[in-house]
Symmetry: D2
């Protein structure tokens, strides 16, 4: 089946339509979008800054916080997909290539449990 939980084509189309309908392309140069990514990432960090690390899993599953956290994760993702789309980057391929680099940089034997 082409369309499942991991198929992001409709999300990408939605994001593009969202930007085009508002005629926001002039504001969405890659520099501005990179700034938007860090702003949104900062909001995500704000959700967890005072939460102890050992409570963070439970905090993220707590219905009292779940939606806010999901929204912040989503905002970072939306902005990042906007940026990838703007610069013509196949994000999936870029992630695969970078994971290969990370595998080479952090060999399992040397980095297990570190």
């Amino acid at each position: 089946m082409a369309f499942d939980d991991h198929d992001y084509s409709t999300v990408v189309a939605n994001i593009r339509a969202f930007v085009q309908e508002r005629e926001w392309e002039p504001f969405h140069d890659p520099k501005n979008l990179a700034m938007a990514v860090v702003s949104e990432a900062g909001e995500l960090a704000a959700e967890l800054r005072w939460v102890p690390g050992h409570d963070a899993d439970a905090h993220c599953k707590d219905p009292a916080h779940r939606e806010a956290i999901a929204d912040e994760v989503a905002d970072v993702a939306i902005t990042l997909f906007m940026l990838a789309d703007r610069i013509g980057l196949d994000l999936r391929a870029a992630m695969t290539r970078k994971l290969e680099k990370n595998r080479a940089k952090y060999p399992v034997e040397a980095w297990r449990g570190r």
Copy 2:
């Protein structure tokens, strides 16, 4: 065809294997991953901080910078997918829901070109 540019299932599986092989789950609580997201977002911002906005599109397509920028975008994405996976969040669904909220928050008529 199930497997195309927008199918992220293999990327998600790759990311999960990358973490498990290195036994990094104890370090990957959601708070630490949120901090990692902002760190990676900061590295992305670093790539564009001195580039004028009107040169940013060309800069991102310039072969001299392309790979570095693709790698930074990918690092943010990888870390964000790690976080979504850790907290059991369907990132695609979260993005779709948040886009709906953003549509409501920024009505086309009021926000066109602003």
Copy 3:
């Protein structure tokens, strides 16, 4: 005169009192404060993300935006001074040392205008 625009002793004392009165020390470990710094930095970035670089000086002086920007700059500074105080770091000395390193890293002859 001991007390002038560049004497931060009263600000540091104010910050410390602000934290102590609220009994926030348990939340203010250095990790949490570093996360707070990036959150506040993200809010500062948000103020300027859609402003073209060539308008940014005027934007920051525009009374319509001045207070918001001053507040965001101040929030980053307050959080950073909290962190320095928490870890017993003489921030002024650390800045002086780092500037010396930066001078060595970026020699004038090689980096003029770049």
Copy 4:
């Protein structure tokens, strides 16, 4: 005594000279500097992202990490002072004003220990 640990006038003069000698003013518009602040804040976050909160105080005092952390805190501060100087902001006064707002926003009685 005018010159003590809390007198930042020489640091501000040093920062200004550092920028002027390299003729970096054209790159240092407030937007670029705000991006630089978030980049540096991201590097600071990177120093602590995998450190458990309860080890963070000791980690920051450990000679093996002390200099790196001091340097990252200093880099955020230097960039923030650059930004304040660029926009003609009296940072000390801005911090004092913002602390007053924060006192009003978080009354002691309501926020003690929270």
